[in-house]
């Protein structure tokens, strides 16, 4: 069916019901990311898919959006079985997904970006008519969108709105939003929830993927909780209390985590392992680059770098790892022994596939990458393959890397196992300083626990760790101090335990506020809910040891 507007947008009737039937999805490596999940949603429903990182939420939704082919199971729309060979097929059936990472071209205008996405538009396009049509359409949907603005000038929240609008324009009846609030400031999130309510009132089906319980309260009507690829509960959102939700997500009743009291190092006696003064870096991925950043890191300390991505993290890490030019001073103080070994600094990059490892080489070679030119891995020029192999076998055992074969090529490993390889390699070189960038991104709960445990163990032995992450829960769990980056500047450095999570969240998104302004937001409830609820919702607590090992 074609619309009257002539822009080839499908205006077919609304979808009454969409459902997934016993979806199983295996990834290479054998683990089932999704294991026999069935769920469905009817017109006008906001269905929240709740689960920890690595629970299989995104994979399940990618199956619905035609991005992953299920190993078994199928999708039904209005009772008809649909098979999607490619995402376009799902789009044709009115299913669209907004990803955590946007797919907009920054140098094009909103209207041009939306023209790119048309799946059954004609060959010709009248730009003026098109943007006029978009304006009307946006107004109709109640979205504040100016079609002629360059996407590059929009804020992240506005870009997300454009992504959603694109799906509407393309005729999507089922909207899948994958962790939509992870990049949003609290007010922007409220606005998003308003839009979600409006779309559901108009008869759209909305799947909201999240690990934040308060989203369930904000917009959710139905609720599916996933844990380790399995559906553990499906019910109406109002049926369960917050702590019941949390324990269903995590799988066991939450025990409070006895955090070992850190012996505060006397800062006057120990010289910092990393001392950064007046660091200026020209922009790489953040529009503001990095401006006059100063901080220091003590041995045995875990310093968290909090910030919404694209606020200077890449620039900071680039400068620290020697990949980018900078002005200012970076002083890395290693003691004599570790200066001789160039392994004084360990680096766990955010991109474990293209930066952290050599995928075509074996696990054994990847584990030797850092120290291959030193004893015991080699003497003079000759490699000691026996030693490299024994080291690999030992690391595979200690870090529980699968597959167990040291000769397995690195590409055959899952993300979690690859991260374990990188972790093993970087930490076993006994570094004095470790720079870890989102080291737990996309990992399952057990692996997240292992990463935290290993890093905290290193810190106890006197290694300074710079922990860059977007996840505040994680930072508050692992770090001793937290540095907040925003627009390439330090908004503040806080000791964990002396600051509210909400304050840090606010600084990340909006910078310093007048105190009365903050209180108002607090009273309005923009700030606190996230922190109070999700601080109870930390699966890693259960996994971590009591801190004396």
């Amino acid at each position: 069916m074609r619309s009257m507007t002539g822009f080839g947008c499908q205006q077919a009737g609304m979808i009454k019901r969409v459902s997934l039937h016993s979806i199983v999805k295996h990834f290479p490596g054998g683990v089932a990311a999704v294991d026999g999940v069935s769920l469905g949603a009817s017109a006008g429903e906001v269905h929240v898919i709740l689960g920890e990182n690595g629970a299989g939420k995104t994979t399940l939704m990618r199956v619905l959006a035609g991005l992953n082919k299920p190993s078994s199971g199928h999708v039904e729309i209005d009772g008809r079985i649909c098979r999607f060979a490619k995402p376009q097929d799902a789009k044709r059936h009115g299913i669209g997904m907004v990803h955590q990472h946007f797919s907009l071209v920054n140098s094009l205008s909103v209207a041009e970006n939306l023209a790119l996405g048309r799946i059954d538009g004609g060959f010709f396009l009248n730009p003026a008519k098109w943007s006029c049509y978009l304006s009307e359409k946006a107004e109709e949907c109640g979205l504040d969108i100016r079609p002629d603005t360059l996407v590059g000038l929009l804020s992240l929240g506005e870009r997300q709105r454009v992504e959603i609008f694109r799906l509407i324009v393309e005729g999507a009846k089922v909207l899948i939003l994958d962790e939509p609030t992870s990049i949003l400031a609290p007010q922007e999130a409220e606005l998003l929830f308003d839009h979600i309510r409006r779309f559901s009132a108009a008869g759209h089906i909305i799947f909201l993927v999240t690990h934040k319980i308060h989203h369930v309260r904000a917009v959710g009507q139905k609720l599916s909780i996933l844990r380790r690829g399995k559906l553990v509960r499906q019910c109406a959102a109002a049926d369960l209390a917050d702590d019941e939700l949390a324990s269903l997500m995590v799988g066991e009743p939450l025990a409070s985590f006895p955090r070992a009291p850190k012996d505060r190092l006397d800062e006057t006696q120990v010289s910092p392992v990393l001392d950064v003064r007046d660091l200026n870096v020209s922009p790489l991925t953040s529009p503001d680059g990095m401006q006059a950043v100063s901080f220091h890191l003590q041995p045995g300390e875990i310093l968290g770098v909090a910030g919404i991505s694209g606020n200077g993290q890449d620039e900071l890490v680039g400068a620290l790892t020697g990949r980018t030019a900078y002005r200012g001073t970076i002083k890395v103080c290693l003691d004599g022994a570790s200066r001789r070994e160039s392994s004084g600094i360990g680096y766990i990059p955010g991109d474990r596939r293209s930066v952290g490892s050599a995928l075509s080489l074996s696990v054994m070679d990847n584990l030797a990458l850092r120290r291959y030119d030193r004893r015991p891995f080699s003497s003079r020029f000759l490699l000691n393959i026996e030693a490299i192999r024994n080291n690999a076998i030992e690391m595979i055992g200690h870090y529980d890397i699968h597959p167990k074969d040291p000769l397995a090529p690195a590409w055959s490993l899952s993300g979690g196992n690859l991260q374990k390889v990188i972790l093993a390699r970087e930490l076993e070189a006994s570094p004095r300083l470790v720079i870890a960038v989102n080291p737990t991104a996309g990992l399952d709960v057990a692996t997240v626990g292992m990463v935290h445990r290993e890093l905290m163990g290193k810190a106890r032995n006197g290694t300074g760790i710079l922990y860059v992450s977007e996840d505040l829960d994680e930072l508050f769990l692992v770090c001793d101090r937290i540095l907040v980056l925003r627009k390439g500047k330090v908004e503040g450095v806080f000791c964990v335990g002396e600051v509210e999570k909400a304050v840090v969240a606010l600084l990340m998104s909006r910078g310093k506020l007048q105190s009365n302004e903050y209180e108002r937001d607090f009273a309005l409830g923009c700030v606190d809910r996230d922190s109070c609820i999700s601080s109870r919702n930390v699966a890693r607590d259960a996994v971590l040891p009591s801190g004396d090992g």
Binding site: P28, R323, S357, D365, Y372, I385
Partner: protein, 366 residues
């Protein structure tokens, strides 16, 4: 050595083959490529009304069936093996060296310079001096694209390819001009090399010391790549330059070293051709050995120990082409068709292999 360690050693050799992340054995690629070539060649022969089996047999017999054939095969395979090594060494660091032909010609010029300048003056030292000069000259010639790549990130393929013409024309200039032998009756030849500047040959045949150089070099390169820290670095640089840089490897130095080693190998091929086969510097010393070496290196998957048999096989095609003419009545240029088909086979075997791997990995659409 206990049987267990022996087995373990054998297994280690295979690590090298799993470099490309495949479950197929290392020789599957080359054999597959040859099989594809043989099938396509048979189709052409059938269309031309010849018997494929008889023709292929004549070819094989010509190359390996007689003493003369084997000698000719070994002579032909020497420059091919060296030129293949010239491609394989940089390829292991992820660099294309298409400049083998130019490096070969420049090596020929360098050996002629030593031979003509010193004559027999150096006595028994002539050969060592000549070999060293040629190695340095070949390395220097290959470092032109190498340095441009390392410093300015200029495409090494284009530069090396263009330099091939420069080196060939340089030979032409020298034999038409300054180095022209007045007693050559107007032919564009240099003066013949003195006896002392001719590489030792084996029992009066044209099989010369270059073959030994090639085999020993292949063995050395294999050892260096499989067992030394240098080889490990090269492997990582090829597999992931970004990761290599983060663990502190200097990419540029590996680029330059492997390129220089490659250039030196191709130059040795030039030395053998002018010193033994031609006995003087002249144009047309190489029927494209540099390019066929490229083919052989790809056929062997840049694996040094497989380059040896691959070079012997391709050298055999050349020496067998005479037999093809005599016995099967086919023009000797038929071999060029077959060589072309081998290249097609190499190109096809890559995608086929990847397809097989992909099926195994059941990759996700992203």
């Amino acid at each position: 050595m206990s049987p267990v360690t022996l087995f373990y050693r054998v297994e280690m050799v295979d690590v090298d083959s799993s470099r490309r992340g495949t479950w197929l054995p290392s020789f599957a690629g080359p054999l597959g490529a040859l099989a594809i070539a043989a099938i396509l060649f048979s189709v052409i022969l059938v269309i031309a009304g010849r018997s494929p089996s008889a023709t292929l047999w004549a070819l094989f017999n010509g190359a390996f069936g007689t003493k003369f054939g084997i000698r000719e095969t070994l002579t032909r395979c020497t420059p091919l093996m060296l030129c293949a090594l010239a491609v394989a060494v940089p390829a292991r660091a992820g660099i294309f060296n298409i400049g083998g032909e130019g490096q070969l010609h420049f090596g020929a010029i360098a050996s002629a310079a030593v031979a003509l300048h010193f004559g027999s003056g150096l006595g028994s030292m002539t050969i060592p001096v000549m070999v060293l000069t040629v190695l340095v000259a070949g390395a220097a010639w290959s470092l032109i694209p190498g340095l441009l790549k390392a410093v300015l990130n200029v495409n090494e393929v284009l530069v090396a390819l263009m330099l091939n013409y420069v080196a060939i024309l340089l030979v032409e200039y020298l034999v038409h001009g300054p180095w022209k032998d007045p007693s050559a009756l107007g032919w564009p030849y240099s003066a013949p090399f003195p006896k002392a500047a001719v590489l030792p040959t084996w029992q009066g045949t044209n099989v010369h010391l270059g073959l030994l150089f090639g085999v020993v070099a292949a063995g050395c390169f294999w050892f260096v790549m499989a067992r030394t820290t240098f080889g490990f670095s090269v492997k990582v640089v090829e597999a992931n330059p970004v990761a290599a840089r983060y663990v502190g490897m200097r990419l540029q130095s590996y680029l330059l070293i492997t390129m220089a080693l490659g250039g030196a190998m191709a130059a040795l091929a030039g030395l053998g051709e002018v010193s033994v086969i031609q006995g003087r510097l002249r144009p047309d010393i190489s029927p494209g050995y540099g390019y066929i070496g490229f083919l052989i290196s790809w056929l062997a998957g840049h694996r040094f120990l497989i380059i040896i048999p691959a070079a012997i096989l391709i050298g055999g095609l050349y020496s067998g082409s005479d037999e093809l003419q005599l016995a099967a009545g086919l023009p000797s240029a038929t071999v060029d068709i077959l060589l072309g088909l081998v290249f097609v086979g190499v190109l096809l075997s890559g995608p086929i292999r990847r397809w097989l791997e992909l099926r195994q990995r059941s990759l996700e659409i992203e």
